[in-house]
Symmetry: C2
Subunit: 283 residues, 2 copies
């Protein structure tokens, strides 16, 4: 059995750091606050929301949820968002996506205040991720990957890193974050030829493709470090990742489980981003 990369341990460590930061802020009379904006009642949004509320409470960060009706017009949604942008008591904004189809994300993303945009919806933050400008906010999931790599002191300098997936929520931003840490990064996707062979060359393999247990031990080099971003439900109704954990756990040198891996760290990153946003805004 390889070493388990425990998301829970990383989350605990970020929590401690965050609690201290909140204490400092409160001493200065500032109460950090996250506003979650949710349209409708999508079960996965509600599930994430519960986790986020619990985490923020644990970190002593105030959270408010703005629940909007599924049928809200784009104009009304934007008006609501602008009120939150302007509300000085709110430091971080998390908008659940995808939004209903009648609300154009390509319009809304330009409205959210970049300095409060703690999950990288605004193009200003997307550009900062690409530029390697740490003053912005990367999406929480790739940031969680980086937190785990950092917590376990995994040396990224010149490391041969392979990313499976090229989405804007995982693959592309995590590639940019890895590059910033001097990793060599190969970005793979559904059209990649000999995918398992490319993956099996990696020292560090980051998997975010959204297909349950697709990555088996053939994709993994002996001793490789494997981070699984996937959250799926398997044929028995149990949570599983994009990596076939049972098949890979002995071959990998270090591996994240699902659940208890990357997903456990995302709300901690969210808390950390709220603190960062708060500090930026109070100057």
């Amino acid at each position: 059995m390889s070493e388990l990369l425990s998301g829970k341990l990383v989350a605990e460590s970020i929590k401690e750091e965050t609690v201290r930061a909140v204490e400092e802020l409160k001493k200065r009379g500032v109460e950090p606050k996250l506003k979650i904006i949710r349209v409708g009642e999508n079960p996965s949004d509600l599930s994430y929301e519960r986790g986020a509320l619990k985490r923020m409470a644990g970190c002593d960060i105030k959270t408010e949820v703005l629940e909007l009706d599924q049928g809200i017009s784009q104009d009304d949604f934007i008006a609501e968002l602008e009120l939150v942008n302007k509300d000085d008591s709110v430091h971080g904004i998390l908008i659940f996506r995808p939004l209903p189809k009648h609300i154009d994300e390509n319009v809304v993303k330009y409205v959210v205040a970049p300095e409060k945009d703690v999950d990288c919806f605004s193009p200003i933050n997307v550009a900062k991720v690409m530029e390697g400008d740490r003053s912005g906010f990367a999406p929480c999931t790739p940031s969680a990957v980086m937190e785990i790599l950092g917590h376990y002191n995994i040396d990224l300098n010149g490391a041969n890193t392979v990313v499976l997936g090229r989405s804007m929520v995982v693959g592309k931003p995590v590639s940019m974050l890895l590059l910033k840490e001097n990793a060599t990064v190969t970005i793979c996707h559904s059209k990649t030829k000999d995918l398992s062979k490319v993956a099996a060359a990696a020292d560090i393999l980051i998997v975010g493709i959204g297909r349950a247990k697709m990555v088996n031990s053939q994709y993994v080099k002996e001793g490789a470090i494997v981070l699984d971003v996937g959250i799926n439900v398997d044929e028995n109704g149990k949570l599983c990742g994009d990596v076939d954990f049972e098949d890979c756990k002995n071959k990998a040198g270090m591996i994240t489980p699902v659940p208890g891996g990357v997903g456990s760290v995302t709300t901690s990153v969210l808390a950390k981003h709220v603190i960062k946003a708060c500090k930026l805004q109070i100057g």
Copy 2:
């Protein structure tokens, strides 16, 4: 000798396409115009400007140069830029960079109108490049690389592509453009281990590292396609690329020369971007 990827031929082809587009626009009463903003008299800016003016003239695109004094203050520069943003007769804006140190590019980049920003200075266009949103403008040099690949019908689908360099003007944006075309992309840089070995695995090798003739035949797989973005001056004062052309020309399957390669296409891309900007603005 491998096949030469002639930038000049590609430029000629883009020019023909652009001339036709300008004719169409003029029939509609629109005269496409590029505004070049240059601060001071940097020789490399002046050299590029001469090339750009010649190319725009050849494409029948009007060009004006706004020459600003090297000592212009940041506020005055921004005021000038805002006037150009607002000038309806101007469709494309090219600002020579780097700007003098007392003008903060991280401020100015937010000022340039994204819809006129034909060389990807604005974060809005940076984000679009990362998102694969073709409504934006990629920087001219990586776009020139894509034009050459397209002109020679090089199949990028699943191709093992290696990019040497991770700059915001070449490496990162070209990687995003290649991903959009379904290439598998490995991004390498100065910290990459066994760089020549990684490069020599590539079907397609894009080199933008800014070191004269660094890439020799050890970096090139037999039959690989090599695009050299570098423009340097060698020990004899002659223009040369980042690739040692003489050493690689027989091993590569196809290769760009320097001069006459990627660099020959950038001003044609600039012309194409001005036309695209013009069409976007007139609706």
